[in-house]
């Protein structure tokens, strides 16, 4: 298993600003994943982040809006840029620590006002 810490756990932000979410894992992992869970909805993959390469974004998500960093094998950040109320969601970090079980952080609850 893996222990994943996300920061912040929640935030209220003004529209037009940006928020960077941090994800720290207690072991080295090859792949890290960022998901979004909109109110009342299930999880949707935003992008996959591998260390040493550009993140791979899913359809409907772009790097300018959701830039991702992956500086090492235990850490990643997701930035939500130029926020609007439609970006209000829970953002979740996930990892696969060498198996097919995917573990999730506690999530970051973002409210944009």
């Amino acid at each position: 298993s893996a222990v994943i810490s996300q920061k912040p756990s929640r935030d209220i932000c003004q529209r037009g600003t940006s928020l960077t979410i941090q994800c720290q894992v207690d072991s080295q992992v090859t792949m890290m994943f960022w998901y979004r869970q909109q109110p009342g909805q299930s999880l949707t993959l935003i992008a996959t982040a591998n260390q040493g390469s550009e993140a791979t974004y899913e359809s409907g998500f772009v790097i300018d809006k959701f830039p991702i960093s992956r500086p090492n094998l235990t850490f990643s950040t997701l930035t939500v840029s130029n926020m609007s109320p439609e970006d209000s969601s829970i953002y979740l970090c996930s990892v696969e620590p060498g198996s097919t079980e995917a573990f999730f952080g506690q999530g970051t609850r973002l409210t944009v006002v």
Binding site: M31, Q41, L43, L45, T48, T56, E101, A102, F104, R109
Partner: protein, 111 residues
């Protein structure tokens, strides 16, 4: 297109009343089917991974089964602490670790 559909959307049970949650899926080459539990305000908590039709896994009052088209999460004699949203997800071969999630079943167990 890979797709996951869960039913029912919501389920209310009395304590001790056993039932099942359904997860129907279509995927081009199943690598694994996952069940998660999600409590309000928290991230999904991993429960099971099933890899092939006929496989079953159990954990306390929960038992997950898998066929070629669907998975069931059986809850035996549930307790109020089993109340949560249960999420089903599939991972296809050559998907690079991506999970496709269903909408979830919100389970409420009343004492």
């Amino acid at each position: 297109e890979d797709q996951v559909t869960q039913s029912p959307e919501a389920l209310r049970l009395q304590e001790g009343e056993s039932s099942s949650l359904n997860c129907s899926y279509t995927v081009s080459g199943l690598r694994g089917l996952f069940w998660y539990r999600q409590d309000p305000g928290k991230g999904p908590e991993f429960l099971f991974t099933l890899y092939s039709a006929g496989e079953e896994k159990e954990k306390e009052r929960l038992k997950a089964t898998l066929t070629k088209k669907e998975s069931f999460l059986h809850i035996t004699a549930p307790k109020p602490e089993d109340s949560a949203t249960y999420l089903c997800a599939v991972q296809g071969n050559n998907q690079g670790g991506k999970l496709i999630f269903g909408q979830g079943t919100e389970l409420s167990v009343k004492p």
